[in-house]
Amino acid sequence: MSPTSRLPLDPYLPAIGNPLTIEYDLQHGRVSQVRVSLGYAQRGIEHLAKKQNIWQNLILLQRICGICPISHTLCFCQTLESLAKVQIPRRAAYLRTLVAEIERIQSHLLPLICLAAHLNASSSCLRLLFEAREAAAAMLCLLTGKRVNYDVNQIGGVRVDLKKAEVAKTMLSMLGSFDRPLDEARGSLLRHERLKGLGFLSSQAAESSQATGPVARASGLARDLRKEGGGYAAYPELKFQIPTSSGGDVLARYEIRILEIIESIRMIRQILSSLPQGKLSVDPPPLLLPGQAAGSVEAPRGENHYQLTLSAHLQIEQIKITTPTEYNLEALKMMLMDAQPEDVPLIVASADPCYACLER
């Protein structure tokens, strides 16, 4: 039996540049055991949430992740709204969905950019993908006034409005700018033979490891909270599909992300053409009630789950956040089994772990 060698990827993961430690054992030139350790981005957010008031918590929880900030505040608001038993106005639900879908586009473009950089793709391809992500950021900036960490949600509605018809028109025209980068990514980037069959995750393994988001959908599980259980926000009123693939490999995971971007663009078109009139927020402001509640939303990377208890003084007594990357860590370990060491960065990047969501 050949000796086992232990190799750490630390403190920055290759291909994604995240401060996260992945340590693996090599046996006969193949990965045999994987350990993930955390600690570089720990900020104590759940601890802080118990000290601050509800308004401040909205701003704090948004800073869990700069790539998918609205999924966190949306989940928090929906949980509290279910506790207070309020129905938000339709316009607010549509605006929340609009921001969440633009966010999904820019979040899904990030792993594609990382892949392009890792595979040494042509600079034109990399530039096109970067420009697409800039377009998504510009759309968010038009709508909310900020490119990242846009404080959109409030309990009972939203804080921003799409007042001018020109803004909607500009955003509609900007949606066209995603076509070329996506074609380029499919045409050149995903043609790499290397990606096929790499990091295979069977649907049984995805099921047993509780994989979520694009990772689960690329293994053939049609899991999406936007459809499941009637959906939330404005999703029940929109026409869209949940793309799935039976591939289960690195290639399938990237293809699913591209298909989801196309679905998101379809949804944004529907929202912008049929944005209902009405109030932005519940008037008068909702009366919060103490109690225990849980809620989940479909963040770009998968299921985001909040469980919280509100005390009689309307302070958060207990809060537990479960993020998609946490669900997907077990799946990531399964994918890495028996992989060759040179493929490890690619497989890790295809699962798109987010260090900021993982350790709060």
Partner: protein, 329 residues
């Protein structure tokens, strides 16, 4: 992009080589990472100054630090220190790295560029060396996250001026993103209460002795500000404005602070200190100024005086209805 007035030409020999940048990601939310990544596009589109990201700190002209520097991340940064080129420039980016924002009070953040964080266990703190002495950034770019334009301009400024970065070079470039109109401020302190990042502080400027004019100092730390606009939303008089424009690039963290002063006066009746009433605001809201004596009473005395003036509650309500009908509001 004319920063120092001397490096605007694209043919400058300093532009022949791209400026190499080593990015130290100290955790945080990833927002700064996104904005730093988009510098790639700025570099591709620029004709003059360009930059490239390097993976070896030895070969870097500039070390860019962002993120909430917690204990684990600080150990990594410390391990990197001996590998930095001694002549390299250091740039600190983002609210977490410069001021720590709300994460300071959670006790996880080891250090920020403007000082050692609060809330650390004492045993841990005693042997602590403040990284500001070791890392000592040459330039700070604040924001949550900072705009790519600001980071780009900061990089450019450090690349051009280097160690000769003088006060004149940066003068006239800096503008604030927080506007504070002290003539409208009531000094109620709501903004200080709501600020999630503890970036707003109201303090009495000096010990007040009898017969002395005092003032309240209002400080907004733009380095810690998250630009969430909660204070702007809550402010009853609208004396606070967060503008989308403004460059937040400074050489010292203290320079990010926007200050305003509220003068204190004595109440006519009880002689207690109170914030002088914002006459401009009252004039704007009511259309005309009420009797001067009303403005010189503190809120408590004003309530007592108005109760005496109106005698009974029924009379007061009638007066209120009359006022509402007159103004039609």
């Amino acid at each position: 992009m004319n920063v120092a007035g001397e490096c605007s030409s694209p043919n400058d020999p300093r532009y022949s080589q791209p400026y190499s940048v080593f990015v130290f990601n100290a955790g945080g939310c990833g927002g700064c990472e996104f904005e730093v990544l988009s510098l790639f596009l700025h570099s591709q589109q620029s004709e003059g100054f360009r930059c490239k990201f390097v993976s070896q700190p030895e070969s870097a002209d500039l070390i860019l630090l962002f993120g909430s520097l917690n204990r684990e991340a600080y150990q990594v940064l410390k391990a990197f220190f001996p590998r930095f080129n001694p002549s390299c420039q250091r740039l600190a980016v983002g609210a977490c790295a410069i001021a720590g924002t709300m994460f300071q009070s959670a006790g996880w953040i080891a250090a920020t560029c403007s000082g050692t964080a609060q809330g650390l266990p004492h045993a841990f703190n005693s042997s602590w060396q403040n990284p500001i002495q070791e890392f000592s950034p040459n330039l700070y770019v604040a924001g949550c996250p900072p705009t790519p334009e600001d980071i780009w301009q900061g990089l450019h400024r450090l690349a051009c001026c280097g160690s000769r970065l003088s006060a004149e070079a940066s003068q006239g470039v800096e503008t604030n993103r927080i506007e504070f109109h002290s003539e409208f401020c009531l000094g109620c302190g709501l903004c200080q209460q709501i600020c999630p990042a503890q970036a707003i502080r109201l303090s009495i400027a000096q010990e007040l002795a009898v017969g002395e004019a005092g003032s309240i100092l209002v400080e907004f730390n733009q380095a810690a500000c998250l630009f969430c606009s909660l204070c702007e939303q809550l402010c009853p008089t609208g004396c606070l404005k967060l503008s989308g424009s403004g460059t937040l690039i400074r050489q010292r963290p203290q320079e990010f602070v926007v200050r305003g002063c509220l003068s204190l006066v004595r109440c006519l009746n009880c002689q207690g200190w109170m914030v002088a009433m914002p006459k401009d605001f009252i004039k704007q809201t009511l259309g005309s100024l009420p009797d001067q004596r009303w403005l010189e009473l503190c809120p408590t005395c004003r309530k007592i005086a108005s109760a005496r003036y109106l005698k009974t509650a029924a009379e007061g309500l009638q007066h209120l209805h009359q006022l509402i009908q007159e103004r039609g509001c």
